[in-house]
Each structure stands twice: as C-alpha cells, then as structure tokens.
Amino acid sequence: MRPDPDQKIDIKAIPAWRITGGLGSLFWWFLPIVYGFFALGGVTERWPIIVLTILVVLNTILQATLIPSIRWRRWSYQIDKHEIYLQHGIFIIRRTLIPVNRIQHVDTRQGPIMRSFDLSSVTITTAATTHEIPALNDEVADEVRNRISDLARAADQDV
C-alpha cells in the first residue's frame, strides 16, 4: 500500500486562503439579508433570520481561521514518472491518481490575492477531468508544470 503523497503545498497558502475564503464567504450573507426583507415585510416568519445570520457569520469565521490550516495540512501531492497522486479534503478526503499518459494539458494560473503572496496553482486536464494543485510558490509551480508536461510528452512517445 502506498504511503501518503510526499510533497506539501506552500505554507503561505494558509494566510492567502484566510483572505479568499473569508471574502468569498461574505457571498452567503445575502441569504439572511434577502430573507430578512421578506420576513420584516411580513411575508414569512422572523425566527429563521437569526438562525441564518448565525450560520453565515460562523461560516465566515471558520473560513478565516480554522479551515485554511486544516486544508493546508490535508493537501499533499506527488509527481512520479508514470502517475500523479493528489490527496486533499476537509470533510471528504480524496486521493486521486492521474496517469501521466492521459494528461492533455497542464497550466499555471494565479488570481490577484494569490499574486500578492507569490502563489500560483497548477491545473492538470485530462479528457474527462480537471485537477488543481493550489497555492504553490511561483517558481515551484513553473517547475511542476514543466516537469508534468515533459513527463506527459515522454509518456506519449512510449505509447
């Protein structure tokens, strides 16, 4: 049986995710707000406002504190000659294998918040699925991308 993948992603992922996760979770605030309009207008009951508010505030707090560090601890990857292993997940832990000769293309991308932390993510695409290794240091991400693409090309010639 294989041990867990041996590479970790960049530790700066934690502060970066605190920002993206915290900001992203603000989206859900629309739920109590919209519901509040209806409830205060007398259309429906009022008590769910409190429940919804607690839930979205709790979500924002967790996204900005605990979740990024759990997510970072759970993320690992390993690039071998013939296959790539990814393992990640908070509630559902998922170990994924991508055979290198099935890879169609691989690229790096970077959002504005990730850029301020010098982080990029590597995206691996097969004919059926897309996988992402998030939050690698820019140089590491380039290196990983080049390595995967070299391996994929070599594997193509094998077949």
């Binding site: 049986m1 294989r2 013939h82 296959e83 997940g89 509630f91 559902i92 832990i93 998922r94 170990r95 994924t96 294998l97 991508i98 055979p99 290198v100 000769n101 099935r102 097969t126 004919a127 059926a128 699925t129 996988h131 594997a155």
Partner: protein, 518 residues
C-alpha cells in the same frame, strides 16, 4: 502536382462530380423537418405551458403557420446555398447565406461514409450521405438528398481504401445481409413494454393533461367530476391509471420507432449499428474509440432476465462522444456471448468483491436522504402530504438492493464496477481508458474504515464516472493503485522480489544447516 496525379487515379468519370452541384430539392424539406424536430420539445413546452395566457406566441395557429413558413423558407435558402463536389480527392462542401463556409474533407481524413434513407428520401427514391472523420471538431458532413447512384460514386471514390481494394467495397455493399445480432419483433415489443422511457412519457402526458385544464372549459371538467358519483379519490385514481396507460403505450411506440430493425454488424476495425422503423439510422463505432461497455438490467427487465447493453465512446465527428445502445434487449444469459463476439476485449470473468456488511447501513441512509427531502416538501405543501411517509419502506428496500448489487473487481487490464441507481449496471473499463481515479472517504466512512472509488472516463462533454461506494478502505486504495500504468510490471517485480527473498531465506537456512559450526 501531387493532387493532380492523385485525381487521375479516380476511376472512369473523374470530372463527373468536380462541378459544384446542389442536392435534390427534397433536401429543403428534410432540413426544415429536422429543424422542427430539434425544436419539438421546446415547441411543445411553449405551446402547452404558454397557452394559459392569450398572448402566448404559439397558442395562436396563425403564428404557428408563420413560424413554419419561416422555417420552410430558411430550408429552401439553405438548399440553394449548399453545394458539394468531389475534387482533388476531397469532398468539398460550401454552404451559408452571408458567411460562406467551405468544408473540404480530404479522403485520408474520412473514416466512414454512411448511406441511409429516411421516409421522405425513400418516397423520392433518394438517399442521404453521411461522412464521418477522425479527430474532434465539427468536421462531420452530411448531404441530405441525392441519388443512390451519386452516393455510391462518392462512397467508392472517397472511402479510404476506395481505390486500393475496390472488391472490398462491393463486398461491403452486400454485407447488410449478415448482421451479427438482430432484434426480433417479439423482443422489440417486450423492450417497449419494459422500457425506462416510461417515466419521461408519463411526465409529458401529465404536463399535457395539466394544460387541458386551461384549454378545456373549467365547467366541463367540473361536470365530468360531478358525473362520477363516487368520491373524488376514485376519480383521481382512475385519471392516474388512464395517464399511466397512455404513457405506457407511448413508450412502446417510441421504442418501436427507434429500435425496430435493430441490427449490429462487425467490421475489422469498427461496429456498425442500423436501426429505426421509418427513418433508418446508422451508427459507426470504431473499436479504438470505445471507453467502456455497460450491461444494464432495468428494474422492469431484470425480473424477466433481460438487459440492455451500452457502449461509451469518445468523440469523433460532430458528436463529442456519448453512450450508445449496443443492443436494446438481450437475455442476460446471452450477454456474455454477445460481448465475446462484438467487443471481445471486454469479455471477462473476474471475481468480484462486495462491500462489507457494515456498509449496508450507509447504503440505506444514502438512499433515504433524497426521499426524506421529498417527504418533507410534500408534508409541508399538501394537506395529504403525510401519505408520502409510505415511501420510506420503498427507500429502505431500494437501499438494500443497491447494497446487494454493489461489487467491483479487476483482472490484469479490465476493471469491473457494478452498481444500482434504479437499474443494476455492470460497467467494464480498460485501464488505459481511465482518465483519473479517486479513492475518497468522508468523516463517517473514516470511522468505519470504508472508502469509495470513482473512476472517470472520457465520454460526452463532461466525461462519465463510475462509483463503487463504501468498500473496505484497503481494497479501494489497491484499486486506485491498479490504475498506475506500470502496475502490472510493478506487481510482478514485487512478486519476484518476494520469491528471491524466500529463496535467500532458504539458502541461508540450508547454509546454516551445513555450517559445521552451527
């Protein structure tokens, strides 16, 4: 220069097709009908759902006729602007009203040329010609109405091995005499009565019926209800039974229309399926495109020992990959033989592993969750919603049978996954067709040492996946590893390592035995 010499190879009438020519005018009609058919479902929906209001665009026959005239004119314009010719070993099609599009398909890119004929074409003694190319993109070309003679000429001159083996071509023309498997009328009828499209038909009939309220005067319906002296419950049951019967008849008719004359042929590198009552449809599936084979035992078919076979294929031509019915209705006992004949690569008898007994609870709970949501909704919405609680035993039973069906196994190169949603499905996937594989567990599964497996293959735009849920964690991790491209050689290596280890143990033991100092 090269193309000139090649065009001289064309037998006899090299110039015959080199002039741009139009299709037979019937093409205008067939293209109109095709557009109408593609729009059929949205049109029906707009017509029936929109008829509640008077200003509904399609509730008025006047608007409908304008709409159809418009489509017809569009069809005629399309026909006028569409030309085809064969030149320099290429099929050259030009079309488009304002933007002229040219689609030149060289012979070596052409994979299959199919000649078929729908009911309209047959009325005029015409055929339609379909060209499928290798590789993706919208390269498929279709000439919808031309004479059989012209179609044959194009086929002979543009088939990839057209000039190399002209004898083979004529042999291929006679080939339809010998399908490998065909569907008898009895089995076809049986397939119709047990078809799964039943539910779809029911929802269409239901929608139409619901709209009758709007079309027919409310008073009439009330009178009708009054005329039933019995309680309103009897009335609803009668109506329900009537709807189900109509839906059932519709699904039989639908199955017969699409699967009548079903025949499957085997060619060296591909499978050819022909089917259809009025409109003959021909589907070609190159072996090299097959991603998975599935045996599906529908809930109505399983009790009588029948199944349906599907094949998932990656995209070629216009279709970007999809699942195709390999055979609509087959005795389960014959499925093994069928696969051995038609897709021999997938013929396997693998020992299957089952999920452990402690997974049963998870199967039942997983099945009950959507039911619980529906029950809650019914309870909330309808006064008689508590009747929905009766579906709980149904959910438990279904969960139990899902558990019973679940199984997985692999041999050297093929993985088998069996699961049940409603129908029990057994899927066969080759290792080198697996795009990615995941073993995963959530918090509850972790506590019980269970994992689930997801295998992704390339079929349709988004890809398809097969799941083996709640197996022993170690089994799932082993299956994930099995997908590694060099799993086999690695497994062999480990085995020889073990043997060597064993050997050296033996020798050292033997050495120790003869060691006088011991």
């Amino acid at each position: 220069m090269k193309s000139e010499t090649e065009s001289q190879i064309l037998p006899e009438q090299p110039t015959r097709m080199s002039e741009p020519r139009r299709q037979h005018p019937v093409a205008a009609l067939t293209s109109t009908l095709r557009t109408l058919r593609e729009l059929l479902i949205p049109l029906v929906l707009v017509f029936f759902l929109g008829s509640g209001r008077d200003d509904g665009l399609f509730s008025n026959p006047y608007y409908i006729s304008i709409f159809i005239t418009f489509l017809l004119v569009a069809g005629i314009v399309k026909w006028m602007r569409f030309t085809y010719r064969v030149e320099d070993d290429e099929l050259r099609i030009e079309y488009g009203l304002l933007v002229r599009k040219r689609s030149y398909i060289p012979r070596h890119r052409i994979q299959v040329i199919d000649i078929s004929s729908g009911i309209l074409q047959r009325m005029f003694g015409l055929v339609s010609l379909n060209v499928q190319t290798a590789g993706g993109g919208a390269e498929e070309a279709r000439i919808s109405a031309l004479t059989l003679e012209d179609a044959q000429w194009i086929k002979t001159n543009l088939s990839r091995n057209g000039d190399a083996q002209p004898d083979d071509e004529t042999a291929e023309d006679q080939e339809p005499a010998k399908p490998e498997y065909s569907l008898s009328w009895n089995t076809l009828f049986l397939a119709g009565t047990t078809s799964g499209s039943f539910g779809i038909a029911l929802s269409i009939v239901g929608t139409i019926f619901a709209q009758m309220n709007a079309v027919v005067d409310d008073g009439i319906i009330l009178d009708l209800i009054d005329s039933f002296a019995g309680t309103s419950a009897t009335f609803f049951i009668l109506i329900g039974a009537g709807l189900i019967f109509v839906a059932w008849v519709l699904s039989i008719v639908g199955t017969i229309l699409s699967y009548a004359n079903f025949e499957i042929y085997k060619r060296p590198a591909e499978l050819v399926i022909a089917r259809g009552l009025f409109e003959k449809k021909q589907i070609t599936i190159p072996y090299s495109r097959i991603q998975a084979v599935r045996i599906q035992e529908g809930i109505l078919r399983q009790p009588i020992g029948y199944c349906t076979l599907f094949v998932d294929s990656a995209g070629y031509g216009e279709q970007s990959g999809k699942s195709t019915v390999l055979f609509p209705m087959l005795k389960l006992s014959q499925a093994e033989d069928f696969i051995r004949t038609m897709v021999p690569d997938y013929s396997r008898e693998t020992d299957l592993v089952k999920p452990p007994a402690r997974a049963l609870r998870r199967y039942i709970i997983r099945t009950m969750i959507p039911f619980a949501a529906l029950i809650g909704l019914f309870y909330w919405l309808f006064p008689f919603g508590h009747w929905a609680l009766l579906t709980i035993p149904v959910a438990v039973t279904l969960g139990y049978y899902r558990y019973k069906a679940a199984a997985a196994g692999h041999d050297d190169n093929t993985m088998t996954i069996r699961y049940r949603n409603l129908a029990k499905t057994t899927a066969f996937v080759k290792r080198h067709r697996i795009q990615s594989v995941s073993g995963w567990d959530n918090w509850f599964q972790r506590r019980r040492g269970l994992k689930s497996l997801t295998v992704n293959i390339a079929s349709s735009d988004t890809g398809a996946s097969f799941n083996a849920l709640d197996f022993e964690a170690d089994t799932v991790l082993d299956y994930v590893e099995w997908v590694e491209p060099n799993y086999l050689s690695k497994a062999r290596q480990e085995k020889t390592d073990e043997e060597q280890q064993l050997d050296s143990d033996k020798t050292s033991a033997a050495e120790r035995l003869i060691d006088p100092g011991f």
